[in-house]
């Protein structure tokens, strides 16, 4: 019927896992609706990667291969994706909701004057006149079902689907487009190493917005971490408020951790935090709000005031250790 365009993203010389997750979404829709799937690869010296993408699910793949596209650039990506959308006549354009994806995707929808759905975790259906999408709103507390009419640009939450592992026919084709840019890339600054390395801790005790103030971290959270012989962490709002420094932040923009035991205290569980800790071996959540999304990834939950439970737990652990 129609065409689904899948935009690949390259990181450290390889096509990202999230791009193959988009392929999986596209292939599933294609199978039920008879759509074609096309790929788009943008970068410099990316011919082989594009050939790979074309044969591993993306099908016929357009390539913008130019030294000016070596690093992500909003202007170049915007022009290349719009050109690819026009040349393939795509009804659905899929982009992963990564820092590059959310930077460019809405521009495509505005440029094509078409529908946009952001950060969906499921695409229920797609036909010639739009689709049905599901996404989280209110920091993960509610689901929204969104329908679109006509051509649609959608960003997809990384990790929501397993990556495509099959194969496909389809070669690559150079896409010529205007590559002039106003925005100019300067550099990438890697995270500074600060001595707080949560990725090596066996036990992490993290506090969230519910902890309430900077003073409560040394008073309530650190003592529990100490009693367990673990490290202290935090969710983003804590770092944003200046209660703790960035090295303590667990989440997609902080550290990704997989300890043996993770205690989430006063953390509601925004997606960006869950991404950083949900692979932990055992998760305990303590939160007043029984509906907090954190309980969905926790093994054990306590619905109570953290200021009742945490000091008592700290004392009990100290006593148990003797």
């Amino acid at each position: 019927m129609g065409t689904i365009l899948v935009v690949a993203e390259i990181q450290k010389g390889a096509i990202r896992e999230s791009s193959y997750e988009l392929v999986a979404v596209a292939r599933e829709l294609a199978e039920s609706g008879g759509h074609d799937v096309n790929g788009l690869v943008i970068g410099s010296g990316v011919g082989d990667l594009a050939t790979d993408f074309a044969s591993k699910g993306a099908g016929k793949t357009l390539v913008v291969d130019d030294v000016s596209a070596a690093n992500y650039n909003v202007d170049i990506w915007s022009k290349a994706i719009k050109a690819a959308a026009e040349s393939t006549g795509a009804d659905l354009i899929l982009i992963a909701n990564t820092p590059s994806g959310w930077d460019v995707a809405p521009r495509i929808a505005a440029g094509l004057d078409c529908a946009f759905v952001s950060d969906c975790f499921k695409i229920a259906s797609l036909d010639g006149n739009g689709g049905n999408f599901v996404r989280r709103v209110f920091n993960g507390k509610l689901d929204a079902e969104v329908s679109t009419s006509g051509k649609t640009v959608a960003t997809v939450q990384p990790g929501a689907t397993a990556a495509f592992e099959g194969s496909s026919d389809g070669g690559t084709e150079a896409l010529s487009t205007d590559l002039s840019a106003r925005a100019s890339f300067v550099e990438i600054k890697l995270a500074e190493s600060t001595g707080v390395d949560l990725t090596k801790a066996d036990i992490i005790v993290s506090g969230g917005r519910g902890v309430g103030s900077a003073e409560k971290f040394p008073e309530v959270i650190q003592p529990l971490a100490d009693a367990l012989g673990g490290a202290m962490g935090a969710s983003r709002p804590v770092v944003d408020a200046g209660w703790l420094d960035h090295p303590y932040q667990v989440g997609s923009s902080g550290q990704i951790v997989t300890p043996k035991l993770y205690l989430a205290i006063g953390i509601s569980g925004a997606i960006q935090h869950l991404v950083g800790m949900k692979a932990s071996n055992f998760i305990v959540a303590i939160n007043k709000d029984a509906d907090a999304p954190i309980f969905e990834v926790a093994n054990v939950g306590v619905v109570a005031d953290l200021f009742d439970i945490v000091p008592a737990l700290t004392n009990a652990l100290k006593a148990a250790k003797g």
Binding site: Y72, R107, D119, L142, G242, S253, E296, G301
Partner: protein, 260 residues
């Protein structure tokens, strides 16, 4: 230099979230509202430019009468003027429609720099800022945690994954969508609040802005059909009992893991 800040008034982060009667959004009657957290950092970033030089800061918001409160707060923090797009047709507009309205305001204002928050705390969509930039044919950067302004351009740091930052330079005019934690947001002082009462708030309709035929809920291309509490997957085993009983169970679990 004219600096425009787009802000959204959203349900308070601790507000009760009940689904409304037609099941398409939350019940908004009798709940508290606040300025979207991301947007407070955008206001602060704009006010820093004003503090440093001769910038005029105009704050813009779309919404019903209650939005006046959010605009007054921003004026109390130090913004110079406000534009309030108050039009029933704009209620429930999708991201692109909303972006068209904001772009029309920006065009009228002739903004050199537009600041927004990266996303809104309610719809978590992160959609409108790049759309506004595209409609105005200006470059944009999202998830910005630091800005350095010069005569003709702004150098920004964008947050990537894992604490890495991307440094990008944008010529003016441009749009910058600010990430939370980018700065320390000021409070409106008592003096600021008193002064804000005298500052102008222009109220506009979609017709005033020339977008009545292209923006607003009647022109939506994306529509929310249903809002619901997510189906719970394998949810946690919830421990019950008194504080002591709960603590005993927790200590037991930690022992079972061999971590004590």
């Amino acid at each position: 230099m004219k600096v425009m800040v787009c802000l959204k008034q959203v349900p308070h982060q601790d507000a009760r979230l009940d689904v409304n009667s037609d099941g398409t959004w939350i019940q908004e009657d009798n709940i508290k509202f606040e300025i979207n957290s991301y947007d407070t950092y955008a206001i602060e970033e704009a006010l820093r430019l004003k503090d440093a030089g001769d910038a005029e800061v105009v704050v813009v918001s779309i919404g019903p009468d209650r939005v006046t409160q959010a605009l007054r707060t921003a004026l109390g923090m130090g913004a110079d003027r406000a534009v309030h797009v108050n039009d029933a047709a704009a209620q429930g507009a999708d991201a692109l429609g909303t972006a068209k309205i904001l772009a029309a305001v920006a065009k009228e204002e002739g903004a050199d720099v537009i600041f927004t928050g990266l996303m809104a705390d309610d719809d978590n969509a992160s959609a409108i800022p790049p759309m506004v930039a595209e409609l105005l044919d200006m470059p944009s950067a999202t998830g910005v945690t630091a800005t350095e302004i010069s005569e003709a351009s702004i150098k920004v740091e964008r947050e990537l994954e894992g604490g890495a930052l991307e440094v990008v330079e944008l010529p003016k005019p441009c749009l910058i969508a600010i990430q939370t934690g980018a700065n320390q947001v000021r409070y409106a002082s008592l003096k600021g609040i008193m002064q804000a009462k005298k500052k102008p708030v222009d109220v506009k309709t979609l017709a005033d802005l020339g977008v009545a035929d292209s923006a607003g809920h009647a022109h939506n291309k994306a529509t929310i059909n249903k809002i619901s509490v997510p189906a719970k997957g394998d949810t946690a085993e919830i421990l019950e009992g008194s504080t002591d009983e709960i603590v005993t169970q927790l200590v037991g679990k930690i022992k079972e893991l061999g971590l004590l």
